[in-house]
């Protein structure tokens, strides 16, 4: 029995890897400039330039952003023991955005460092506020929490919009509102590399986060420093969200939809679902990005719009499913 189970597990893993590689290749060779796998060895200089400065960085960012967002969501769900909490539904994204708007307004020569710093601080504060709120106001229905979080996020967003309008930085600010990978080039995706050490850090603490998912009492009972790990977890999520939003803009729902779909299939053992979730997050973004690039070819729909549509449908499905259970 056990051996069969292990075998299917192994097959599943290979299946994921093949899918990922295939989608990475499709993603790299999708676009207006005609570059094909078959003439990879005889590229013109322009084609090489497109490949190296645009296509590969874009695909690479998609993979990183997808896995980071999915894992961030999973981690937040683990920390709050609520399946519907994620950077989108806990005000993390919205707060980070507010931080960026403030950086743009008040530090007008806003270097990336300012934006990063403020976005990080704001997302940290926003997320903690929400988590404290959820803990104090005991909501009877678990489904209410993400809805309250979405409202919380929208309140913060409206404040950002107000500031942006007042200080005439709407254009600048709106580029952070809608996730878009079209503008990524070899020049500006480096911040996203921050997510690599963050992911490794999460993996190295995975056994602790696994226990945290059972709640405060069980964690303390097993000798796990709950408060400290909760703080570390939220800090990681805020940093990772900041890195993604500054590179690609806000990408909603990935952190909820992907971990929940993986959980239906593979359960909630954090350590065991961590890598499948990261993989699936990457796949999800690669697929939605390919859709956004081919729907009205040769133009592009921002990936945020595609994910908004696909993600909200899946989110509703998960909400209703959770409700019926």
């Amino acid at each position: 029995m056990e051996r069969i189970a292990q075998k299917t597990q192994g097959n599943y893993k290979w299946y994921m890897i093949v899918m990922l590689v295939a989608l990475i290749l499709i993603s790299i060779f999708t676009g207006v400039s005609d570059i094909r796998l078959s003439n990879l060895l005889s590229l013109t200089d322009t084609q090489k330039l497109v490949l190296l400065t645009s296509r590969i960085p874009r695909t690479f960012s998609l993979v990183l952003a997808g896995s980071t967002l999915a894992v961030s969501g999973l981690l937040m769900q683990q920390l709050t023991q609520n399946k519907f909490v994620s950077p989108t539904t806990a005000g993390t994204l919205a707060s980070a955005r507010l931080g960026i708007v403030i950086a743009v307004i008040f530090f007008s020569h806003s270097s990336l460092a300012y934006k990063t710093g403020l976005a990080f601080v704001f997302s940290l504060i926003g997320t903690f506020t929400f988590i404290l709120f959820v803990r104090t106001v005991k909501l009877k229905n678990a489904v209410m929490i993400p809805l309250v979080g979405l409202m919380f996020g929208n309140i913060i967003s409206s404040f950002s919009t107000y500031l942006a309008v007042q200080y005439e930085v709407v254009q600048n600010a709106s580029s952070w509102l809608q996730g878009n990978f079209a503008l990524i080039s070899s020049e500006n995706y480096q911040l996203l590399l921050l997510s690599v050490p963050l992911l490794i850090f999460i993996i190295s603490l995975a056994h602790y986060f696994t226990i945290l998912g059972l709640g405060r009492d069980v964690s303390l009972e097993l000798g796990v420093p709950y408060g400290l790990l909760e703080f570390i977890g939220i800090t990681i999520v805020s940093l990772a969200t900041t890195a993604v939003i500054l590179t690609a803009g806000s990408i909603p729902f990935v952190g909820i939809v992907v971990p929940n779909l993986v959980s239906i299939k593979k359960g909630d053992h954090f350590q065991k679902v961590l890598l499948p979730t990261a993989f699936s997050g990457a796949l999800f973004l690669l697929i939605t990005d390919i859709i956004s690039r081919t729907m009205i070819y040769p133009y592009e729909i921002p990936i945020g719009v595609v994910i908004g549509v696909v993600g909200s449908v899946l989110f509703l499905y998960l909400l209703l499913r959770g409700e019926s259970e």
Binding site: H207, E221, L222, H269
Partner: protein
């Protein structure tokens, strides 16, 4: 040996546990009884370090509980609170394996797997080990939680109403299991029990609490008496003896 000295806990103006002192005998089963709101669960939480006491001292094997290192404490004492509904999708085996965390931090070795196997079979869960816990009945989940605590392999095991959700037959099985933990494995079991007859039939010692204070404590024989129980519960309790065991009748009052 566990020693509770002058422990008090307040929530705002309300005194939940008031100046309680009691020794707990090692290698015995101690049942904690008393009316609702007597402070039994709070006392259990303080002893197991889930919440801090306001005043007083609690010693475990001669050392104050709060001065134990987290990891070491978790190897000495395990606690199971009233099982709230677990909605996480974990298999029974995964849940039980968490009991090994204080020893191996999630990296299970072959010894861990042996202990997990024996804990599972001790509670009759071997067949169910690959089931997700959100598909279990209340009684099965309760047994899975106990198996996890057993897996933690501690000298002291604290349980808050382990008979919750269990029908008569599983209730008896649970108490027998706890009894055998004491008799066969030499554990010290401290459990909050609401059914006084289960306490009378299986425990060695009884601790009775009322309105936050220690009402009385001692061996079962001394405690299961009309004079103690009438005052403890403010009820008319009739004690009958059958085959050398004492039972309380209180259903018609």
């Amino acid at each position: 040996m566990m020693d509770v000295q002058n422990v008090t806990k307040n929530y705002g103006q309300t005194v939940v546990v008031n100046n309680v002192s009691l020794p707990i005998e090692k290698g015995k089963m101690t049942a904690c009884i008393g009316p609702n709101g007597a402070g039994k669960s709070t006392l259990l939480e303080m002893v197991s370090r889930l919440i801090p006491q306001d005043t007083g001292h609690i010693y475990l094997d001669g050392k104050e509980v709060k001065s134990w290192k987290k990891g070491e404490f978790a190897k000495r004492l395990s606690v199971l609170k009233q099982t709230n509904q677990m909605t996480v999708r974990l298999t029974v085996r995964e849940l039980v394996s968490f009991g090994r965390f204080p020893y191996t931090k999630g990296r299970l070795n072959s010894k861990c797997h042996e202990i997990i196997d024996s804990s599972l079979s001790y509670l009759g869960l071997s067949e169910l080990q690959n089931r997700y816990i959100d598909t279990l009945s209340g009684g099965q989940l309760q047994r899975a939680m106990i198996a996890m605590v057993l897996c933690q392999d501690t000298d002291y095991i604290l349980l808050d109403e382990p008979l919750n959700n269990l029908d008569m037959s599983f209730g008896v099985q649970m108490m027998q299991t706890l009894r055998s933990l004491v008799d066969e494995l030499g554990k010290t079991v401290i459990t909050v029990v609401h059914d006084i007859n289960f306490a009378a039939s299986y425990a060695d010692n009884i601790v009775a609490m009322k309105e936050g204070q220690l009402f009385a404590s001692g061996p079962v024989d001394k405690m299961i008496t009309k004079s103690v129980l009438d005052d403890l519960y403010d009820m008319d309790v009739e004690i009958i003896e059958n085959k050398g065991k004492k039972y309380c009748l209180y259903y018609i009052n």
